[in-house]
């Protein structure tokens, strides 16, 4: 219903009326309609399509009919809550008193929904059953169930992000492996010399694994820093774009831990693969003799 209401025309009203009531509008509406606190506006309760009466049907067009209207004052400009389901819609939001909205929309003594808070000790399932058994004309749902139903879009986006994440990990693994192979091969003469000096294969492999792990940890530390900066940029950009305080990107300790661990494992694995190739090759071959 709010969407319907917001689709209605909202324009500056010149004629003062006696003690108009106040409404709160969101920042994006204030910016789009160039409204500030104290401005008077006229609200039409239904979409314009409902409020224009077709008077004539000629090529010169229609004469709009007179629509019921109410003058109110912008009492506050508010920042909207972080509701992901509203982000991309670009709707404007007006908050007004319930009786005022019921009157202007012609809804009468009706509401779209009741929000019911229960005591912490209440048995919610039993309560739901009791309400639904006696209710006439509405159904009660648990908030969690509604959240699950309305979050299907975000579940899809989340699955998409996970898939992109897997592809990125595959690409990073190949990149890391390639870099490690190059780094180790660059030192084939050093490795040959170490082998000729009597250093065991396993010692060489261990030293390369440690080196690879160090590179991976340092790289992931740099990656975390870049990711954190990227996250700040993403939030700054999308919060400004959608006029919302919603956090689009969050760097949590769990995510940092997982990325460092993943880099460490991948780096060590790349080190093992790269070093095994070289330690199996005779030292003189490595020296090119």
């Amino acid at each position: 219903m709010l969407t319907t209401l917001l689709a209605a025309l909202l324009f500056l009203h010149q004629t003062p009326q006696s003690s108009p009531r106040t409404i709160a509008i969101d920042e994006s509406l204030a910016a789009a309609a160039k409204l500030k606190v104290g401005d008077k506006v006229t609200l039409l309760g239904r979409p314009a399509a409902e409020d224009y009466a077709v008077m004539t049907a000629t090529p010169s067009g229609y004469s709009p009919g007179v629509a019921p209207a109410e003058t109110v004052i912008v009492g506050a400009i508010v920042r909207r809550g972080a509701d992901p389901s509203e982000v991309a819609r670009g709707d404007f939001l007006v908050r007004m008193h319930l009786d005022q909205l019921q009157s202007i929309s012609g809804y009468g003594d009706r509401v779209d929904r009741f929000a019911v808070a229960t005591r912490s000790s209440a048995n919610v399932s039993r309560l739901l059953k009791e309400i639904n058994d006696v209710a006439f004309g509405f159904r009660a749902y648990r908030s969690r169930d509604i959240a699950v139903e309305t979050s299907r879009t975000f579940q899809v986006v989340s699955r998409f992000h996970r898939a992109i994440g897997v592809i990125t990990i595959v690409a990073s693994s190949l990149f890391l492996l390639c870099i490690m192979v190059l780094k180790v091969e660059e030192r084939r003469r050093d490795i040959a010399a170490l082998r000729l000096m009597g250093i065991s294969r396993w010692s060489i492999v261990k030293s390369i694994i440690i080196e690879a792990a160090l590179v991976a940890v340092l790289g992931s530390a740099l990656g975390v820093l870049l990711g954190w900066i990227g996250s700040l940029i993403v939030n700054w950009h999308y919060q400004a774009l959608y006029h919302t305080p919603l956090e689009f990107s969050i760097v949590t300790p769990g995510i940092v831990g997982m990325s460092v661990l993943l880099s460490l494992v991948l780096g060590a694995a790349a080190g093992v693969l790269a070093s095994l190739r070289l330690v199996r090759t005779p030292p003189l071959v490595l020296l090119g003799r």
Binding site: A49, E50, A57, P59, G137, L182
Partner: protein, 395 residues
């Protein structure tokens, strides 16, 4: 000669070359996917809107088609005004509503469209007959599977459900005459269509002579945007949406995916570039002696540069070709994930393969391959010959 030497250099380190090609292939696959995502969604939506030849949609003022329950009043008067414009060729008013079908003790809900079958652009008939008489209904496969009904069955269809009184405003026996595919419908949506006058009668007086949407076909050669402006001037009760404005609105709603595509595409390109640059730099460092010998026997700097760049380009091209196949497979997988968006028309593809997208990805990778080879090639060509030879001899 240059190409032969480049090929020999790459073959000499097979494992390294293979890893680099694989790395570039994954980057190329990601780049192709992101190019497809950035351009395909818009193109797919445009194709969907144009699929039935309607250029303009009229929705209740301030809304998008079927975005709210609002309707446009005075359909006949609006139709008369629209017909006065010689650029408008065809007008298709559509009324939408929720319906309930009682069958074998079950209540199956879905949506129903009231249309004029001679000008409708909402569905295509797959089998059976269209809604040629007022008591006919056609349904999509999803609804048909829920109903377990056959052509010719009579269905008890109700509309205008009032939750307060648990009654319907209209109930009617309709004969199932056809199986259809709704062009703008989602896969999991149960839908049917009847004649508009049938639905109006079932919905009661409140929705008489009203429509949820008008679809308009303009005359060949006419400018849809001019017609749209004309409509908005002469019919203030509607929002006229041309293909261009609809695409702009979808762009705005789905801008996240486009921006994600640009960012990930750029990262993929950079990773591919970095991989080839690293490989070529290490390769040049290993071959300083060889390059110095080539320079000492009179081979020109340009020759060396061209050979190194050719190696970089070869890795990029091989990776890009492999990545093209890989990208198509991953695009299908990612598209299947995003197709699960609730209410998304089945005909919409987020990842749409267009040859131009593939060429763009390939072109970008080749340019990055050339760019990646330039620094190592410049280093190789600038090596001091005598010093490099001496260092090689000592080593």
């Amino acid at each position: 000669m240059r190409l032969t030497l480049a090929r020999a250099a790459l073959i000499r380190h097979r494992a390294r070359t293979l890893l680099a090609v694989l790395g570039v292939a994954v980057a190329a696959a990601m780049l192709l996917d992101m190019v497809m995502l950035a351009t395909g969604m818009r193109e797919s939506f445009r194709q969907l809107l144009l699929s039935r030849g309607f250029d303009i949609r009229l929705a209740p003022k301030g809304t998008l088609p079927f975005d709210t329950d609002a309707t446009i009043p005075s359909v006949s008067a609006i139709t008369t005004v629209l017909r006065s414009n010689p650029d408008i060729r065809e007008i298709s008013p559509v009324l939408g509503a929720a319906m309930h079908i009682q069958i074998a003790g079950r209540d199956i809900s879905g949506s129903v469209l009231g249309i004029d079958p001679s000008v409708q652009g909402d569905y295509e008939l797959l089998s059976g007959k269209d809604v040629s008489d007022p008591d006919a209904i056609v349904v999509n496969d999803h609804l048909l599977s829920q109903l377990h009904a056959r052509m010719g069955d009579t269905l008890s269809v109700a509309t205008g459900y009032d939750p307060q009184t648990r009654t319907y405003s209209g109930q009617r026996k309709l004969v199932l005459t056809g199986r259809v595919r709704f062009i703008y419908g989602a896969a999991e949506q149960s839908s049917g269509a009847v004649r508009r006058e049938t639905l109006e009668a079932m919905e009661g007086g409140a929705r008489r002579d009203r429509a949820s949407l008008f679809m308009i076909r303009v005359r060949s050669g006419a400018d849809p945007d001019r017609v749209r402006d004309w409509i908005e001037t002469y019919i203030p009760t509607v929002s006229a949406i041309s293909i261009a404005t609809a695409i702009a609105q979808v762009d705005q709603r789905l801008s996240y995916f486009r921006q994600l595509a640009v960012i990930l595409g750029a990262v993929s390109l950079f990773v591919g570039f970095l991989l080839v640059t690293t490989l070529m730099t290490v390769s040049v460092n290993e071959r300083t002696g060889e390059i110095a010998v080539m320079r000492a026997i009179g081979i020109s700097r340009e020759h060396i540069v061209e050979q190194i760049v050719a190696e970089g380009v070869a890795i990029s091209v091989a990776g890009a070709v492999l990545g093209l196949g890989l990208g198509l497979v991953t695009a299908r997988y990612l598209n299947a994930i995003l197709s699960a968006f609730p209410g998304l028309p089945t005909a919409i593809d987020f990842f749409l393969f267009q040859p131009q997208a593939a060429w763009s990805a390939l072109g970008l990778l080749i340019i990055s391959g050339i760019g990646a080879g330039i620094y190592p090639a410049w280093r190789a060509a600038s090596l001091p010959i005598s010093e490099s030879l001496r260092r090689e001899a000592i080593a």
